[in-house]
Subunit: 168 residues, 2 copies
């Protein structure tokens, strides 16, 4: 996404009106690498502009997306996320906590071909699903605990008299 001033210029050039709501939304979005949903953005901005409606946020975001100023995508969690970085890049999506980050190194080719399989290409979204560092720790701990429980259960099964039935 471009700097806010430029975005506003382009909004006007498109025949749009510069309202306080849009300026606020643009500003909030410009420096945001968290790939927010409309609802998240709305929650954050409501503190600054209490009457800001969710409808307005959706309208502004969809308008920007149609103008090609930001990218819409769904990570599979059923919600639509907005990414102000329109350069080709992959998103890292945590399958456990749903966090989304930009992939550090350009993954896949940096320039997208003009045509693929008869299609005239206009954009590209790449999602890499995985476990974020925090969730790796959590999952590994859980796995270890599961393995322990399974081992205990197996030991018990192999000597049933000591466990289920008591000493005969």
């Amino acid at each position: 996404m471009r700097p806010v001033e430029e975005l506003i210029e382009r909004l006007q050039a498109r025949g749009g009106k510069v309202t306080p709501q849009r300026v606020l939304i643009y500003r909030a979005l410009a420096g945001d690498a968290s790939h927010p949903t409309a609802e998240q953005l709305h929650a954050r901005l409501r503190g600054l502009l209490p009457h800001l409606s969710l409808t307005t946020v959706y309208a502004a975001l969809n308008d920007l997306a149609e103008a090609g100023e930001l990218r819409r995508f769904s990570s599979g969690d059923g919600q639509v996320h907005y990414d102000p970085d329109t350069r080709p890049h992959a998103e890292l999506v945590c399958v456990r906590c749903a966090r989304i980050e930009d992939a550090p190194a350009p993954h896949g080719q940096a320039v997208l071909p003009e045509r693929v399989g008869g299609f005239r290409v206009v954009g590209r979204t790449e999602l890499i699903h995985g476990l974020c560092p925090e969730c790796q720790v959590a999952v590994d701990a859980q796995d270890a605990q599961d393995a322990l429980a399974a081992a205990a259960l197996e030991a018990e099964t192999q000597r049933p008299e000591t466990a289920a039935g008591g000493s005969r």
Copy 2:
């Protein structure tokens, strides 16, 4: 996705039951390159099994997806699509008619790295947005018509007396 027989074996191995509904759903999915949604699949199968419920279709599909037998993704239209081809490949998504096709040549790297930016990778989805051949024709025709109308309007504006006001 694997052949239907193998899928069924693996379902049993997982502790699942081989019901007529699941067999039907597996069969329908196996040869389907159209990336159907649960609802589309349900509509198609209802002719064969009138009492088949949408709930059951969702259950079967989500079960398969969790077992890694097919891939879930959202193309951005807000619906979840299911792809029986689990090999890494890109999807071509038409931005006008929402049609989805598999990209012919492997786009991006064929093998996905084990780790990216601290994440432990488990899967990948690549969507290439563009215009399908049919929609290219439609859009180009519309553009040509628009250009014609614009030219006509401009000609009229440059000689206002011949158009709006009549002679003098």
